[in-house]
């Protein structure tokens, strides 16, 4: 017990930062799982919705002096509004069109962080964004705990969705849209509503990150986040509830926590070669996995069917 307490409360800030990144990627991965794994929407602009929430929260608190909860609500609403618009755009596009539109959206958000300097501070950044409460020098640990609760709730929700009529509707829409349409399922509306609320949730996760890092820079909203989320989800299993968690533990947790803390490599290696090699391995993982094990590590496991609860009826 003492060991665990030591681990938690004596842990360096670095470890908490790594853990926070892992939990955040799990959260975003769960949302992408709903979009891509179930409903078949290839969203390549995850960082756009997350980054919009992040920056909206920063601008609302620093420039407009909103209280924490109002800013959180505002940031989520802004990301959700963008989700409604982009959901309407992508819900009847083919795969190529969705790729073009979502990548464009992410690029627009990135450009906005630099072009609207009066609001965002441009490359100088925007800050300081404080935690809404203060419990001494372990406030960041408390913040991590809050994120764990939120992502845990999201995971429970996804677990339920897999066993609910709504999940079957999403899977039908993703796997065979014309068939779902022929059964009079409103696939366009289904995809649009799903895209809207999951985008809002990505924005919420982004807004929470603002308090955690205190300062926002355009370099935080680059494609690295999207790739981390896609790699985690594909590695774990894009059609599985636990996929994002397993994938994030094997990628982000392994590289950013275990190797960085416990493998004795020279400092210069960690500064340049290590991050580059890490991305190389991520890229290679995507190729090898999708060629040889497209459903990820978890795959289908014991059950042959994607749809839970139908086979035994």
């Amino acid at each position: 017990m003492g060991g665990i307490l030591d681990f938690l409360f004596g842990s360096p800030a670095f470890l908490i930062f790594g853990a926070y990144t892992v939990v955040m990627v799990v959260g975003l991965g769960l949302l992408l799982h709903l979009q891509l794994g179930l409903a078949g929407i290839g969203n390549f602009g995850v960082v756009g919705f997350w980054g919009l929430g992040l920056y909206a929260f920063g601008v609302l608190t620093v420039r407009y002096d909103l209280t924490f909860f109002l800013a959180l609500l505002g940031a989520t609403a802004i990301a959700g509004a963008a989700g409604i618009v982009m959901g309407w755009v992508v819900s009847n596009l083919d795969v190529d069109g969705v790729l073009g539109a979502t990548l464009s959206f992410a690029a627009i958000v990135f450009f906005l962080t630099d072009s609207e300097r009066d609001l965002t501070g441009g490359r100088i950044g925007i800050g300081t964004i404080d935690f809404p409460f203060d419990v001494g020098n372990r406030t960041d640990l408390a913040w991590l705990a809050i994120l764990v609760v939120i992502v845990g709730a999201l995971m429970y929700y996804v677990w339920r969705v897999h066993r609910a009529p709504y999940g079957r509707l999403l899977i039908a829409t993703g796997f065979n849209e014309p068939l779902a349409q022929s059964l009079r399922k409103p696939t366009f509306r289904t995809k649009m509503i799903l895209f809207a609320w999951t985008s809002a949730a990505m924005g919420l996760i982004g807004a929470l990150y603002a308090s955690f890092v205190h300062f926002l820079f355009p370099t935080q909203v680059t494609v690295g986040i999207t790739i981390a989320v896609i790699v985690a989800l594909v590695l774990g299993g894009q059609q599985r509830t636990w996929g994002a968690l397993v994938g994030a533990l094997l990628t982000i947790a392994l590289f950013d926590i275990v190797i960085q803390l416990y493998v004795p490599l020279p400092r210069t290696v960690f500064q340049q070669a290590f991050p580059v090699a890490k991305q190389m391995i991520f890229g290679l993982l995507l190729i090898v996995l999708l060629l040889y094990r497209p459903l990820g590590i978890l795959g289908r496991m014991r059950r042959e069917n994607y749809v839970r609860g139908v086979t035994h009826e």
């Binding site: 891509l36 596009l93 795969v95 690029a107 991305q279 890229g283 999708l290």
Partner: protein, 290 residues
Amino acid sequence: MMDFLAKALIIGLTEQAPLILAAIGMALIYFLSKVINVAFAETITLGAYFGMWFNTTFGVNFYASMIAAAILAGLLSVATYLLVFRPARLRNVGMVEVIIISLGLSVFLRHALQFVFGYSARFYDVPPAERVSVLGVGVTTFQITAVALVIALALGLYFFIQRTNYGQQVRALASDESLAKVSGINPLVVTLMIWFIAGVAGGLAGAFWGVAANVQPDLGWNRFLLILLVVLVGGAWGIRGVIIAGLGTGVLLSGLKLEIPPLRAEILLLVVFIVILKLRGDRSSETAKV
């Protein structure tokens, strides 16, 4: 007004000539193999690196190093097809998954090349570009070469695909693979040829972008989105459509940049593209209706 249009046209054409070149290359792959190849960005980047490598290590001038860049980028493109995209095709990997695979390849190449060519930006060793004035716009000789090459390549490809026997095979393969096979066309040879030509176009685009500024790992990736959008929007009307869309993008972007801050111009351009993509709608459903 005429003056503004002429300026936008010249800046757009000279600055975005490599964009048109790259878009033609990517569109060839898109038409024939029905693949959106995100790693085409790295074919461009590596074209720039290959040219820089020949230019600085062997001391050959820019135009000679361009040939090396073109051939090596073409071979790289063929290698990516054989090692990644062909296996994916043989395994019937889904469309979204192929895009994710190509994204993985893109990330892999973009970082692997840093262990070969170094982390920081590299430069071509060329005498400072001579500037000539075209209707009051300063244009470098490299840019004029790029424009000439775009015109030559576009005309050459048009002739090749519409008029020659090989071109007919390409068109046959693109529209109906099994029928093409029955007619005695070797799909692998035709496909490799197209991926090679695509790589050549991408590599040349990279070399021109590289000599105009510097050569760094993100060179192709930073320009990939516009290339993709040009291919998606113009692709419905063949190579001609891609050239027109590329030219339109260049002129619109340079015109906007003359009026509003550059970043806002880029944002506006992307919004325009999203609107066009929405209007274009789902083209895959056309075939599903059969």
